[in-house]
């Protein structure tokens, strides 16, 4: 009978395989057996073996349970995903040493096992194959008993992960040094450690019909806007894709508008940034397998705020923010201004400089636009090479790069030295933008503006920027206007945009993002000098 069943199963798999060649990808779920679990241990183990294709890392250990009555049992786990020592010490040993009461009925055995396995973290009752495989491949150990048509999964997650390290992006001089890792659990723990509050809620779901990736939304109940939470849930539920390998997959499936160069979802590697955003009422989306965590809704101004702004004093932070906006602006328009000024508006440049530039450009055979284009494209090539190349070769690229953008290029008569200054300035400016996501959109727009500058001079640049601003104002992130609180103008929140007001003045959380619980601290937080002591009073008088 067992043999027959096995044959039938094999046939079914072949059929499934044929079906899957078609476009119908819902067949992927059919890989998992649909029929109920059998009461016979041998049959169940056989189904597991068949379904996993006899994969060598799926370990099946058979043993006999109890001392009085020899009940056949088995544990199944995936090697490498579980903590093996944990499995043998806390799971197998108590089961082997237990005395199994003869009178135990089918209903009573799960509580019995649960009690015996008190030393193991979580114990769950699993009744269908789909859950069983999900648990198995999440790193749990499955316990099967002969004569019972269900299974138990015990929490034994383990295995190797990268240790917590300093984040590679968003580096801060002052601030915590830990960054997220690829482990979802470690990441949620890092956030929990910062916000010890029962209202910090976590909702987990699996996305990806094949990969079954754990995706979690985290928010502070009562601070986050319920409508936005519901919107995030709805957008995540809508996703029907085969795989999620990085938060970028999710980001592109849930963002408000695809056809824009601007990021409408923020991502970060730093737990303190996530905690700060949760406290402002935003929602974090954590994905198993990536250290980059998504934060929604994201506003334009957020990409200019470095985490250190909040750790430094307000005057310094404000000055730095203005500097960053200037940097972003420069990385957008520096080459275009060079083109416009040398082609159309020479009168703008002081006379001596105009003569100097004209003398340099005398030897250059190209119009300013072509000159700028050559240098900008060269720089982009160098930069791309620098990122993708193995570290060892990187040195060579930087030496060659220094030659290309430098003295030699000028001597060769390709470009003028003024152009080299402009390109270098643009390059440094685009590296200095605190968020890579926004720097990269400036890189794209820069080329459009260069073209407009070549055609129309300053008028072209102004119109190009005007279209960009119109576009920015039309964007939304999870329903929030992207340019708020600048446009629409919300006076109470402007303190944390280009400016950063002193910390004691932060009375309210951002308005549009949360609507109920807006007060974040009391109004009397201004530090006061101590009252003069009596002695001082006497001395003074």
């Amino acid at each position: 009978m067992l043999f027959q069943w096995g044959m039938g199963r094999q046939k079914k798999q072949i059929n499934d395989g044929v079906k899957q060649e078609g476009p119908d990808h819902s067949g992927e779920a059919a890989d998992v057996p649909q029929e109920p679990m059998s009461a016979e241990l041998a049959v169940n183990l056989d189904i597991i073996r068949q379904t996993t294709g006899q994969s060598s890392d799926v370990v099946i250990r058979r043993f006999s349970l109890g001392q009085e009555r020899q009940i056949k049992a088995a544990i199944v786990f995936v090697d490498g995903l579980v903590d093996e020592k944990h499995v043998y010490e806390f799971l197998l040993t108590p089961l082997l040493e237990a005395s199994f009461p003869l009178s135990l009925t089918e209903k009573e055995w799960f509580p019995w096992i649960e009690q015996k396995l008190a030393a193991v973290g979580g114990v769950k009752h699993v009744v269908d194959w789909e859950h069983l495989f999900l648990e198995l491949f999440s790193g749990e150990t499955i316990i099967l008993l002969d004569g019972v048509p269900s299974a138990v999964s015990a929490s034994t997650k383990g295995g190797q992960y990268r240790a917590i390290e300093e984040p590679q992006t968003q580096i801060a001089v002052r601030g915590p040094r830990e960054g997220f890792t690829e482990s979802l659990r470690a990441n949620t723990a890092m956030i929990r450690r910062r916000i010890k509050n029962p209202n910090l809620w976590l909702e987990t779901m699996q996305i990806g019909t094949v990969t079954q990736t754990d995706v979690a939304i985290m928010y502070i109940k009562g601070i986050a806007n319920d409508e936005v939470i519901e919107e995030v849930r709805a957008r995540l539920r809508r996703i029907d894709t085969d795989s999620v390998l990085e938060s970028g997959y999710i980001e592109q499936l849930i963002e408000d508008q695809t056809f824009t160069t601007f990021p409408t979802i923020y991502h970060t590697e730093r737990p303190d940034v996530v905690a700060a955003n949760l406290l402002e009422g935003r929602i974090a989306i954590l994905i198993q397998g990536t250290p980059f965590i998504l934060i929604v809704p994201a506003l334009f101004i957020q990409f200019f705020q470095a985490v250190e702004d909040y750790y430094a004093r307000f005057d310094i932070a404000t000055a730095l923010r203005f500097l960053r906006v200037l940097i972003f602006f420069l990385s957008l328009v520096a080459p275009s201004i060079y083109i416009a000024a040398t082609t159309f508006h020479q009168e703008m440049i002081p006379t001596q400089l105009v003569i100097a530039i004209a003398a340099q450009r005398e030897a250059v055979p190209f119009p300013a636009f072509v000159e700028a284009l050559i240098m900008e494209v060269t720089f982009e090539i160098l930069r791309e090479a620098g990122i993708r190349l193995p570290r060892a070769v990187g040195q060579a690229v930087s030496i060659v790069g220094a030659l290309v953008i430098g003295e030699v290029a000028i001597n060769a008569g390709f470009v003028s030295s003024a152009m080299v200054i402009v390109v270098s300035l643009t390059a440094i400016a685009s590296f200095a933008t605190p968020s890579f996501a926004i720097a990269i959109s400036a890189r794209l727009i820069r080329f459009g503006l260069m073209f407009l500058a070549a055609m129309f001079g300053f008028y072209g640049i102004i119109m190009g920027l005007l279209v960009m601003i119109l576009h920015l104002c039309s964007l939304r992130s999870f329903g929030m206007p992207y340019m708020s609180p600048l446009a629409p103008f919300i006076s109470t929140n402007v303190g944390d945009t280009l400016f950063r007001i002193p910390t004691w003045m932060y009375r309210e959380r951002p308005r549009l993002i949360n609507q109920k619980n807006i007060i974040r601290q009391s109004g009397d937080q201004k530090p006061q000098p101590p009252a003069p002591t009596r002695r001082e009073k006497e001395d003074g008088s």
């Binding site: 001079g457 008028y459 005007l466 446009a487 629409p488």
Partner: protein, 367 residues
């Protein structure tokens, strides 16, 4: 009709940007000679009265634009005719302002570029903004309003610091009595820019708090009127009344006089930012009003489909309306004022208000 809303602050900003639009660039009220600033302030005062007429009409029909309540007031056939007339007027003024800016750019920066090419870029930006809708335009206005204010203050300080302001040029005040000033008010300053507030009757229904419309609009108009008076007074003080009346762009000439510390000079390009932004808002608002008007009168549910055909129309019209700049200016000052501004800004709205008030009084409401 678009289901978007703008708030009171945004309306205020839009009005300020719109009213400054071309008015700060063109010679405004120059026939009053050195008293042009008085003419502007008087124009503002009368313009406010006129605006109260428009506001009253809006008060009667708080959720409808001009092109649709006009049919309620005078009946369907005549109402439709008037609505089409207003829409054409809006498109025409959009084209006129577009032309103004094309000419301005030609004169001071791009003498060899064809007018059409310059206008294409502006027209495309205007179409994009109309396509995105009033909400986006209003938000953009909020951002650029701050920029313009900074530019205005910096410009004012620089002009003063250059030491070119000579207040005696503003004297004698009222050299020939009030008569010439009043004449200027009734032939020029009342209609542009204050009478052009008629276009906002198309935008008031988008307001989220209609009861605040009057305050925002009056504040915006007063601010603009005072600003324009200051601008023209400074122009006169720098250039002299004679040069202002002969100049095609007095503000530009004033800015060219700026010379501070031997390196802050030739700032006209920076002020092109202010001029282009003002022009953009003026064209955009007229154009948007025209497009929503068409959508209303001819029953299109989505105005976005109308943007490109009418945008092309305005673009071609702006190039074809006059064969040269002087023809354009002459038409603007003489013909347009007499045959378009006076009937459409004053006579028809006042008549509409009278009829609407009578209907309301005697109960034969055409709801």
């Amino acid at each position: 009709m678009e289901h978007s809303k703008i708030n009171v602050r945004q309306l205020f900003v839009l009005i300020v940007l719109f009213e400054h639009g071309s008015a700060m660039v063109i010679p405004l009220g120059v026939s009053a000679k050195q008293d042009m600033w008085i003419a502007i302030l008087l124009g503002l005062a009368l313009g406010l009265l006129l605006f109260l007429v428009y506001e009253r009409l809006f008060h009667y029909y708080p959720d409808q634009p001009l092109t649709s309540y006009v049919t309620h007031i005078v009946g369907k056939p005549l109402g439709k005719l008037l609505a089409v007339l207003y829409i054409t007027y809006f498109f025409y003024i959009a084209a006129r302002v577009l032309r103004d800016f094309g000419e301005l750019l030609l004169t001071f920066a791009y003498p060899e570029t064809p007018l059409f090419v310059l206008n294409v870029l502006m027209a495309m930006t205007v179409m994009y903004s109309a396509y995105k809708g009033i909400e986006v335009l209003a938000r953009t206005g909020e951002l650029l309003y701050t920029l313009l204010q900074i530019l205005a203050v910096v410009g004012f300080i620089l002009v003063i610091a250059s030491g070119v302001v000579d207040l005696t040029q503003l004297q004698p005040v009222l050299e020939e009595g009030w008569k010439r000033v009043w004449k200027t008010v009734f032939t020029e300053t009342l209609y542009v820019p204050f009478g052009e507030m008629i276009v906002f009757t198309m935008l008031f229904p988008y307001l989220n708090r209609p009861e605040k419309a009057r305050r925002a609009a009056v504040a915006g108009m007063v601010l603009t009127g005072i600003n324009l008076a200051i601008i023209m007074a400074v122009n006169t003080a720098v250039l002299g009344a004679d040069a202002v009346s002969r100049s095609s762009f007095p503000l530009l000439d004033t800015i060219r006089r700026i010379q501070v510390a031997h390196f802050l000079e030739r700032l006209d390009v920076f002020f092109m930012v202010a001029l282009v932004i003002g022009g953009f808002f003026k064209v955009s608002i007229f154009f948007y009003a025209g497009v929503v008007g068409v959508a209303h009168v001819f029953g299109f549910s989505n105005h976005q489909r109308l943007v490109y055909p009418f945008g092309a129309l305005v673009l071609l019209w702006s190039v074809a309306m006059a064969s040269n700049y002087w023809e354009h200016i002459h038409e603007g000052l003489k013909i347009v004022t007499l045959y378009l501004h006076i009937p459409l800004q004053i006579i028809i709205p006042v008549l509409l208000l009278v009829i609407a008030a009578i209907r309301r009084r005697f109960g034969s409401s055409a709801k």
